[in-house]
Symmetry: none
Subunit: 243 residues, 4 copies
Amino acid sequence: MSISERKEREKESRRQEILKAAQRVFFRNGFEKTAMEMVAEECQLAKGTLYRYFKSKEELYVSLVQDGIEILDKMIVRELQKPLSAEEKLLAAVKAHFDFTQLYHEHFMVFKMIDVGALSGKVDQEKLDAIQRARATAFERMKNVVAEAIKRGEFKTKHRPQEIVMMLWASSFGAIMMCGEKCQQFEMFKEVDAEKFVMRIARGLIESFKTANVAEEPLSHRASPVRTKKTDKVSEVENEVNI
Amino acid sequence: MSISERKEREKESRRQEILKAAQRVFFRNGFEKTAMEMVAEECQLAKGTLYRYFKSKEELYVSLVQDGIEILDKMIVRELQKPLSAEEKLLAAVKAHFDFTQLYHEHFMVFKMIDVGALSGKVDQEKLDAIQRARATAFERMKNVVAEAIKRGEFKTKHRPQEIVMMLWASSFGAIMMCGEKCQQFEMFKEVDAEKFVMRIARGLIESFKTANVAEEPLSHRASPVRTKKTDKVSEVENEVNI
Amino acid sequence: MSISERKEREKESRRQEILKAAQRVFFRNGFEKTAMEMVAEECQLAKGTLYRYFKSKEELYVSLVQDGIEILDKMIVRELQKPLSAEEKLLAAVKAHFDFTQLYHEHFMVFKMIDVGALSGKVDQEKLDAIQRARATAFERMKNVVAEAIKRGEFKTKHRPQEIVMMLWASSFGAIMMCGEKCQQFEMFKEVDAEKFVMRIARGLIESFKTANVAEEPLSHRASPVRTKKTDKVSEVENEVNI
Amino acid sequence: MSISERKEREKESRRQEILKAAQRVFFRNGFEKTAMEMVAEECQLAKGTLYRYFKSKEELYVSLVQDGIEILDKMIVRELQKPLSAEEKLLAAVKAHFDFTQLYHEHFMVFKMIDVGALSGKVDQEKLDAIQRARATAFERMKNVVAEAIKRGEFKTKHRPQEIVMMLWASSFGAIMMCGEKCQQFEMFKEVDAEKFVMRIARGLIESFKTANVAEEPLSHRASPVRTKKTDKVSEVENEVNI
DNA sequence: TATGAATGAGAATTCATTCAT
DNA sequence: AATGAATGAATTCTCATTCAT
């Protein structure tokens, strides 16, 4: 067995090497601007070899994501298992999310591309669904933490636990994204300490769940879309704005 | 003069037509998957003609972004000019940001996708700078609103006005993005009313600027980077996580 | 109009040029061994240009066939319209078929590949069907000739007209193929005069339709397949044969 | 010796296994669309192993052909040895040819597809010569049968024995091919009983060798090629045809 | 002897950009 | 100014063959 075992392990380790290289290259250039040739060069292999391990460029890319999700999930779950208050747990989870993005910067880039929808159509929906499911796990745990906090009276919010987690997640995500190196939207974000920035937002938000200061209305049931004047004519837009 | 004037106006209007078409197509397909041919078809012009108005695909794309930013900027500034409290103004600004994304969905898509890094060299730096400047305007106005609020004691935060705005902006951005149709990350975001969701986050955050409940530490001067153990070896990562 | 007309004509003539070049190259090398690059070189165009006229290698190839069928069809129909006896008409049709294969050698190659099944799966079935239909026309006319000959007593055969034409066609086809330059099955075929060879077979066969010498049984309704001992084991085969 | 003998036998049997597998796969997909990997899988061996037995893909393919030819040859010769009239022998030979194509369908497929020209350089000339020689054997015997028939007055033809066999062979080949499952040329061939169809043609042709009804001119020495107007200009062709 | 990982030349196709008309 | 035919570099993916183990 040891012989086939060793081969198996070698094969896996080669797979990992490719993933590592792919990470670096995809990160530097983005999905579209990365050629398989570049990945091959990065890991000192021939182009064809990549296809022994991943059946297409997309598959390679998505594998990156799957690996990443598992890591993120573990990092968050680990925090949630610690004996802390709900607030502390949630903050720890946000911190884990943040740490993940810093430690595994490249993985985060890949997430972002998915979130931005840049991959839909390019990859088997099946595979994307699998990622969705994997991603939901950490989310589920956080929901439980919130549910208990509400039950215990630690949180006074009228929102459903799921909504609480969504708010936390969405704002952290935005914060992390804005502070990212590649995000060129605003120069000024370069000046802040990303971690503190993210955590401050989370704390602020959580505070609003503990007190009953903020007027809360139900968030679900997407009432009526604001988007009444859907238009794509630039000129009309201009007028509208100027009035 | 009237003859050259008319020509000028015609030229501009043709430019706008191209931009409109480009918007639609870039939105539908993303930057990479959009061929100039497609844009040409969409606006019933020949491919070659596009190059009379925009010197490259990238330039066309960036012009789209610039237009969008200007619109967004105007929408925000308009709100800030209204006679409201600081909190109300900020909420109105967030609302304007949200409305923009709904009204000018395509423009927002284009924003999200932009990776300015990939454009340098392909687009005049001048143009890129113009975008940065445009983006900064609304931001600046919001900063002023916050500065006054702090001065008046409406906000009790220790953070600098700029940081307040950044927090607001980042979390709104994250919220809007997560609720976007193309965002594949979590199904559950489809269930919420995007506007209420975004505004609830903003209100929660602003609340934390008004009270002094949240422990605040300086955000700026990225003290020491968290990212000490930068690594790209997936296997090591596993270990790290499991301990 | 003359301007767009001229352009139209130029476009068509360019298309024809490509077809001509493709014919030569596909003939020299066969479908699989022909690279688009080679076709491009042959007609002094860039690779990409080919794709303006034919959307894929297969499409280019099949277009060759379609053109060829039309020509063949015309050649045969022309013969059938002459005021001749049934026998003479059929012989003239066979001769036309033969002439076609000599004059448009390349086209014939393409037919052969279709007949051999080398294309199925590679080209839209729809397109192949269109070819079938086109091909059936000449056949239909020949059937009518035979039908009349039988009615008039010129032919004494008990077979249906369709079967007569099939026999004639099949044996001519085999003869033409065997005499083909590329057919390496037998050296000796190089020694005969292809035309005489083909015509001699046709005459012999037709003779057997005129006299009632040959025992004729119904050809239709594929009775029971001979293939009882289907096997693909080479070794068993050997044994079977040796006994 | 027994040990090296056993080895030898094992080696040969392994070779046969590979051939069997190759047959199946080449038949299913054709030469070009068959990857060595597929053959390897089919016979549960590693790709590299195939190269111990056949020095290239082409060589493997040609070996298949060679095997097939030998089988066909044996089948025909067996018939010719029976105590029958010349006509009966020839018909039996045609029947054997037909049976071969039904029994060893895959082999026949391989025959049909072979384009020996494409193989020169990739396969030992020696091997190609062996094939030519193998093919000639059955042919030679049939020639002898015909020669005797002519001498005995059973056949009244003026053609040389070789030509008679060629005619028989070519028309049978065409008939068999047209009735083949993969032949896309004409739907109608599906309706006939292939065996009866082939045999009817053969009988008709042989009949014309027995009587002196058909005007016979020498077939050999390809007098003057018909193909005088060799052209590859499609447009000229059109004109030619329409006149 | 058998394996199967690695190779790298090569093929089809796309598309931004140019330029003659 | 507008056109759209032509270009050819670039990209993804395949697969026959080799070779270290």
